[in-house]
Every structure is written in C-alpha cells, then in structure tokens.
Symmetry: C2
Subunit: 385 residues, 2 copies
C-alpha cells in the first residue's frame, strides 16, 4: 500500500539484477524487466499503481535520450547508401510479417499492427558488442549495421506514431477520423518546428536566470510538455519525447558533458529502470504463453530481418557474407519493442496478454541468441574492410 516502499523495492531489485545481468554481459534492460517480474507476477511485492508515474516518466526520458543521441550519431553514419535501403526494408518486412502473423492468429487489425511494429526495430547493442569483440566493427558490414539500425529505429517510431493515432481514433477509417489523425500529426509537426526554432532562444534566456538548477528544470519541463502535446494531438508521449530529444540536441548550450551527465543521473539513476520494471510487473503468468504464438512471432522476427536485409541490399554490391552478418546483427529486439507493447497495454482496453508475453519472449530469446550467432559467424567470415 505504501508507495515509498514500492519505489524502494523496485529500484533495489532493478539495481541488483541490472548489476548481475551486466556482469553476465547481458543487457541491463533484461535485468530491469526481470526485477519487475520478480516484484509483481512472481512474488507480488509491489502494487503496480504505485510505480506507474515513475514508469511513465522513465519511458519519456528513455525516448528523449534516444532522440537526443540519435541526431549526433546520425551524422556519424558512413555507408549511407547501404544503411538507408537496408534499414527501410529491414524494418518494413518484419512489420509486414508481424502484421500477417497477427491476422493469421485471428487478432484484430490494430493488435496485428502492434505485433508488426514491435518486430520492426532492431536493438543492436548486443550485436555490436560481438562485432567489437571480434574486431570487425570497422568493416563495411559493421558500419552499415549501425546506420541501418538507426534508420529502422526511426521508421519504427514513425510506424508507432501512425498506429497510436489509429488507436486513438478507434481504428475507424472514415473521413473524420483520418482528418483528425492527419490534423493532429500536422499540428504536432508545426509545434515541433516552432519549438525547434524557439529552443535556442529559450535557453539563452535561461542562462541569464538566477535560480540554480534552472537549466535542468527547464529541460525536464520541456520534455514532459512536448510529450504531453504529442499525446494530445493523438500521437503518443513516446513520439513527443523523441522529438524533444531531437529538438534539444540542437541547442548549443546543452551540448556539454555536464548536462548529459545530469540527464543520465536522473534518467538512469531513477526513472528509466521503473519503465522496464513496469513492463515486467505487467507480465501475466499464464499457460497460454506456451502456445504456438510466441514461436510464430519469434520465427518471423528472424525471417523478417533476413528477408529485409536481402531485399534491401539486392541492388548493392554487398557480398553474401556481409548480408548474413547484417541479418544476424539486426535480429535482436529490445527497447522499442517494449515501448510498443507498453503503449498497446495502456491504450487498448483488452490488449491480449498472449501478444504482450510473446513479444517479451521474442525480445529475451533474440537478445540472447543473436550475439552468439553473430560471434560464431564473425569468427569464420571474411568481411571486406
């Protein structure tokens, strides 16, 4: 009943499992997810409503940081010609296959779309580690992989914005709801451009203010405000937070290490673990998890990326070995897929637990297996530099 105790329990478990997972060279986010699973479904220590606000702010900060870093890494993309088409097909094909799988299992139009979006984005952190270990990151394959992952991240978020809007308008395709949808998107885009233009001035004024901690407070407010606006315009807080990251990454005075450290302390030290734990808390222990659905989605997660890379590189000069390396590298799913099902669960009244659990299973399995495949492959492969 006491929210202070619940916050303590979740954060301690998240830290503990995060530490164990990162020592075992497993992604931190799986540790957080597992912490939530222990705190909720397994031992029932925590009331989910008590960590909800922290989880939602964690989600917003997670996407803010993604947007904030995205732009700077975007500029670092070499191999643009390969990355772009591989990223596009590497996200759209799994999206399509995910959607079809949903339809095949008889899920609604919207729920099928959600499966698709969840499969579209790569979480390459763990694959990259394998590339780095084998000293193959600075090959054409490694560089294309980084670029393609960024491209498919952005496409996944656009798909997500689209699906969220559909959910908000009730998935009805009449003129009015499509009008509302487009209207909301356009309005948010205008807001985005306006705030982009205004941001440097806002922070120039903020530097003249006397109260300490002003800059950080202002950033925090701006992020949450833009996230809120996006939500109001029928998109989601996720898109708003990502947009806020892009906007603020262009403000010169925020390009200091000090600012990034502040944001990281607040985000990763407090709020972000709650987002992943919040997802873990929502897992429903259910025999239906053992059905054929998670297997089908998992297969599509693998097949989708292979097909996507293959189609996306059909006109390129990439060699067969490189295509295989890229495919393996793009298999892991992670943060974005979790964001997608979290949104699904919060926006759709009876979002099927089977989908929720199957996507989590897909994430866990791909994150574990892909790096192993990548490393084995890289040990033998001869990749052009």
């Amino acid at each position: 009943m006491n929210f202070l105790l619940d916050i303590v329990i979740v954060l301690i478990l998240a830290r503990l499992l995060g530490e164990i997972f990162s020592r075992a060279k497993l992604p931190l986010i799986l540790g957080y997810l597992f912490a939530g699973f222990l705190a909720g479904p397994l031992f029932n220590l925590v009331e989910i409503g008590n960590v909800h606000i922290f989880g939602e702010i964690g989600l917003i900060l997670l996407l803010f940081i993604a947007g904030f870093k995205e732009v700077s890494t975007e500029m670092l993309i070499r191999e643009k010609k390969y990355s772009l088409s591989i990223g596009i097909f590497g996200s759209l094909i799994p999206f399509g296959l995910g959607y079809l799988t949903g339809q095949w299992f008889g899920f609604s139009f919207i729920n099928s779309l959600i499966i698709g979006v969840a499969l579209s984005a790569t979480s390459i952190a763990s694959s990259l580690l394998a590339f780095i270990k084998e000293g193959k990151l600075n090959t054409r394959t490694g560089r294309s992989l980084v670029g393609a992952a960024i491209v498919d991240d952005i496409i996944a978020l656009l798909l997500l914005a689209f699906v969220t809007s559909l959910i908000v308008t009730g998935g009805v395709f009449d003129m009015l709801s499509i009008g509302n949808l487009l209207g909301g998107m356009v309005t948010f885009f205008i807001v985005f451009v306006l705030v982009s233009k205004a941001a440097p001035s806002i922070f120039r004024i903020a530097r003249k203010l006397r109260t300490e901690e002003m800059r950080f407070s202002l950033v925090f407010v701006l992020i949450i405000f833009i996230a809120y606006l996006a939500q109001e315009f029928g998109l989601s807080t996720v898109i708003g937070a990502f947009a806020a990251g892009i906007i603020l990454s262009r403000v010169t005075s925020l390009k200091s290490k000090r600012f990034y450290d502040d944001i990281k302390v607040v985000s990763e030290g407090i709020f972000i673990p709650f987002f992943f734990a919040f997802i873990g808390l929502q897992i429903v222990l259910d025999v239906s998890i053992l059905s054929i659905l998670p297997l089908a989605i998992l297969v599509m997660a693998f097949v989708g990326k292979f097909l996507g890379v293959w189609i996306g590189s059909v006109f390129s000069k990439l060699e067969r070995q490189e295509k295989i390396g890229l495919s393996f590298g793009m298999i892991p799913r992670g943060e974005v897929a979790l964001v997608v099902i979290a949104l699904g669960k919060s926006l759709i009244p009876d979002f099927p637990n089977e989908i929720f659990s199957s996507i989590i299973i897909t994430i866990v399995v791909t994150i574990f297996l892909a790096p192993i495949f990548v490393q084995r492959f890289l040990k033998k492969a001869k990749l052009p530099g």
Copy 2:
C-alpha cells in the same frame, strides 16, 4: 486529469515565481508556495493528487539535504556556549507559547502542539542576508545566531518526531501507546546506528559495481528507505530523511562536489519545488483567515523568540544590543514550519484550515518583516566583534 500536464504546470509556475522572488531578494520557497497557490486555490489548474508523490519525495529530499549539510555546519559553530542555551530556549519558549495559543482558541491537544512545533524553528536565511549586507556576520551576535538556529532546528525536529508519534498512537496516554511510541523510537534509533555503521561499507562495495549511476541510485533508495522505516516506526518520513542525511554526510566517498551537485539537480531541479507548491495547493480560501487566530500566532512568533533569547542568555555575558539583534534574527519562520503543517494536514483527518493558513501567514509575514527589522537595527547598533 493528465498528470503530465499537471507536473508541467506546477514546475513552470514554480520556476517562474521562484525566479521573480529571488530577483526581488525574497526567499525562493515563498515563490514555490505562491506557485502552488496560483495553480490550485486561485486558478484551479491542477489536480492535487497528481503532484502528491512528487511533493512527498520533495519533502524527503529537502530534509535529507538539511541533515546532510547540518553535520558539516555543526562543526563550524563557534560561540557554542551562547548558541546552545539560546537555541534551546529560543525554540522551547515559542513552542510553549504556540501550544498555549492553540489551547486558548479551543483547539485539541494535538493541534495545539502542532502550532507550537511550527513556531519553534527559525529559518535564518533571510536574516543572515541582512547581517552579511551590514558586514556584521562575523560578530559574536552573527556567529551565535547561526549556531542557535542550527540548535533550534534540531530541537524542532525532535519535537516534531514526538508529536508525530503522538498522532500515530492517537494521542492517547496509556501504557500501551507510550510503550509503542518509545519502542518505535528506540528501534529506529538502533536502525539509525546500524545503518550509520554499515553505510561506508555499502558505498565501498557500490564503488566496485559496474552499472553506471549506481551510487546515485543507491543514495536515492537509501534515503527513501530510511524515510519509510521511520514512518513505519511511528515517526515520520521527515525524521527518517533527516537521519539519512546525517548518516550519508559521514560517508567519505559522498563528500565530493559531484555527488552534491547530482543530489541538488534532482532535488531542487525537480522534486523540492513540488513540496512547497503542494502546500500552496492545499491553502483553502476562506474568510475565517481574517479571524484573530493568525494575529495571535504571529504575535506569539515574535514574542516567543524575544522571550526565548532573553531567558536563554540570562547567564551569558551578551549585551542588551546583542540580545535584541539575536531576537530579531531568529524571528523568521520557514521550511520547518511548512513541513510541520504539511504533516499535520496529511496525518490528522480534520486538521483545521485556520491553523494551516495562520501558520502560512506567520511564515510570510515574519520572512518579510524580520530582515527589515534586522537591517534597521544593525545600521545603528554597536555590536562587539
């Protein structure tokens, strides 16, 4: 209805008014308080439940920082012989007078005690500014004032712990509830000592951990956990947070500027403004504010400190001028008084609005008037160095 929007509104208003107030050389906390007043009672923009959690964490962090700084400033106290007795009487006399005022107006035993505790602690920041402006801080009067204010802060918190325990046990003086109360206090004291001993080792281990932001996360968890424990033992989160501050101020690895900066960014950049705004939100606009109660409490706030300083310095060699300077300097009430009425409101089912508002009026008036008195007095006074 949307908690994201409410967070944005409160934080923007708090920042804006905080900036205006600090430019006008008025205390920041009054700005925050006023922000809450605008957001709630006046314009009804915000739903109070949506900022409650942030406010409560703000309160905990406020007292954590107080405890964290207290110990280091404690060592700086010179003029110990004057500070101690003036601090003791300077808090106990207003406490007694506040209690009697409550009884005189027919309030319950507990509510009268709350008025007393609210009047006991000094908020000298604004008086100190006047001393500094007049170049009189490094006089015997100035030094004694700093010391006495720290002493009366600690006494006020002890009184508060006592009153909170009384409230939790229902204000009944039978053997069982007194036993429970003492048992809780003793248990918490044992926990306090144990955690004090363990803290350096905990942080030594934490330094070896790999996950980033671990130290900060750990501090955040420890603070909230100790606050929670204090609450469970019948004290209040306030006492627990203060105790956590004292404990962690003794951990060597936390004595870095970097750590203090992190804590400040999180506390003052995000949570603490919500605590004061939360109080402002709870003000009830009511004609009864215009009754005689606020005037009576205000008079006691002035008289109490004069009497307290006079009695507390009766065996000292302090001159008449010095005693007057000390009395004026100790008149402002602030944070602690706000903490007291916030607790009263949250713990006592029908805590009288008249008391809540009267204490706020007392805080506002004393914070405005005392520095003016101090400055006028210091301009003429000849104080021994």
